[in-house]
Symmetry: C2
Subunit: 329 residues, 2 copies
């Protein structure tokens, strides 16, 4: 079904079902991978990634097309899938945050070029020493958090709660519980929910300070005290963009994903990652009894990641203007 024209013969349920069946099958494949992975870390990671991707897409579809579905069932499964993908995401988030921060520290303290060690004097109270200590501190803290997240994942995947989710998804692989509107012709009912998802996205983007973000080096993201408050609308836009992408996937099964929209989504992912890495650096700096050199390097790192937040906003507005120039104008 490529760009279906939703003829009168096709019900909304018939349009959505193949997408939900396929994502449910992905989920079950992830489950199988998880069972087979044993102590194979790479296999376990792929299993978790597959489970998460499928859970996000099913949950997003249940959210967007809720009016066409059995709403009690959809709401319940969506809540459980959100719990599951949130739990599974934590371990990977700790790993990638650590990699991001250690890479940034290395870039900050090595200068990235063939610079003689003797020129390092300018970089603060031994930025190299401070960076090494800060890196060790972050590694300790994030490795601990990752270990906890790993245990939480394993516990979740072994829980009765998870088995109930897996059973529900297994049923979804063959049957989608529809509401009354799900039996209506797709042409009449299926566009409105997708358009609502797009409208929410467009409204959220319209409320972002994109003109400001288009001015490089505006230093907005470096207003540290305003950090969370100024980040929230961008994080919200990231979620709405994801819902919009999944809705598009569901209605154009087999179609090519829009590469520019994908780039915009990547920019918002980077925005989120940098904001969380900055927060992790700030949190590490609150560790009692750290040396001033360590605190200093964490301050540099915090500002550096907020710089990356700003860079991600710049990248988003650039991608977005290419994506929607015809839609918005």
């Amino acid at each position: 079904m490529h760009n279906p024209d939703h003829s009168q013969d096709v019900t909304a349920g018939e349009v959505l079902a193949p997408y939900l069946h396929a994502r449910a099958a992905d989920f079950l494949r992830g489950l199988r991978l998880h069972g087979e992975s044993g102590s194979d870390t790479a296999g376990a990671e792929e299993a978790a990634r597959t489970l998460r991707g499928a859970a996000r897409r099913i949950g997003g579809t249940l959210h967007t097309f809720r009016p066409l579905l059995d709403t009690a069932w959809a709401d319940q499964l969506r809540t459980e899938l959100a719990w599951l993908s949130g739990t599974l995401a934590l371990e990977q988030a700790c790993t990638s945050r650590l990699v991001r921060l250690v890479d940034a520290l290395s870039r900050l303290s090595n200068g990235g070029g063939p610079v003689p060690a003797a020129r390092n004097a300018e970089g603060g109270p031994g930025i190299t020493v401070g960076a090494a200590r800060a890196g060790a501190l972050l590694e300790r803290q994030l490795t601990l958090a990752r270990t906890r997240a790993h245990s939480a994942s394993l516990q979740a995947l072994g829980s009765a709660r998870f088995h109930a989710v897996a059973d529900a998804v297994a049923l979804l692989a063959s049957e989608v519980p529809l509401g009354p509107a799900g039996a209506a012709p797709a042409i009449e009912v299926i566009d409105a929910p997708a358009e609502l998802a797009e409208r929410r996205l467009l409204d959220a983007v319209a409320a972002l300070p994109l003109t400001r973000a288009a001015h490089p080096y505006n230093a907005d993201a470096l207003a540290l005290a305003a950090g969370e408050a100024q980040d929230a609308p961008w994080h919200q836009t990231r979620l709405l963009l994801r819902l919009h992408r999944y809705a598009t996937e569901a209605l154009h099964t087999g179609g090519e994903p829009d590469p520019v929209l994908y780039e915009a989504a990547r920019a918002l992912d980077a925005h989120r990652d940098a904001a969380e890495a900055a927060a992790a650096a700030a949190a590490a700096a609150r560790t009692p009894r750290i040396a001033p050199a360590t605190a200093y390097a964490l301050g540099v790192l915090h500002a550096d990641q907020r710089h990356e937040v700003e860079a991600a906003r710049f990248a988003f507005q650039r991608a977005w203007h290419r994506t929607t120039a015809p839609v918005v104008s």
Copy 2:
């Protein structure tokens, strides 16, 4: 003499003399202002600014047009003027560095918007507390440095060495000691030195990583350990751009300064100021026994100012491409 055409009747000395006479007169006016300023701080600042501006322009002209002048005299006076303008610049540099750093701390810790205090949690170990302490530390250190610079200025202006400079400049207000080439027709000898100054500038700019600087958020300037080494060619370009501007002033007396070239020069000034402010933050962080929160805020501040360094490079390449597009292409 507006855009002189350097006819055969005009000697090189006759072209340069009015400019040097005028700058020497500026210098003497600055000296008078200094004598009259007494305890009037604003007056003393204006006097120092006038003296410095005149000293830089005379020194630059002696440097660029050295082949046309009495070289022994030019070299000697230029050395003395460099000493004087360097000494006088320090106090103002301390003041503006402090203002820059305190403004940045305020921007970093206040968030620039109506953000409730309760949202400040993200900003590290009390970024507000750390910023206040860092500000107090910087104020102490830079005020001390400024007081020392002020004493050094006063001492310099009262010294026999300064009086010798003032005497030499007073002579220059009425007579320019020329070399043999100074009596040659301007059309034959005056363009080569000015073109050499321009060529040096163009070569220096060509060696800058402008393509890289044109990519916003490249994070080059945040490679802290490479700080001084990567800044040097930009600082050198700043000096060469100044020499070029002064040479242009000398040959087009009364002409309008090129606003875009001025903008490029301002960007390189901002580059230098931000680099020095970053170094001051780094130096403050090396103060023994500071609290981790203070060190943290200084680290944020250091990275913030390196961010400004990068922003200045971006601004320079943008201005430069407008300035020289016809020249370079």
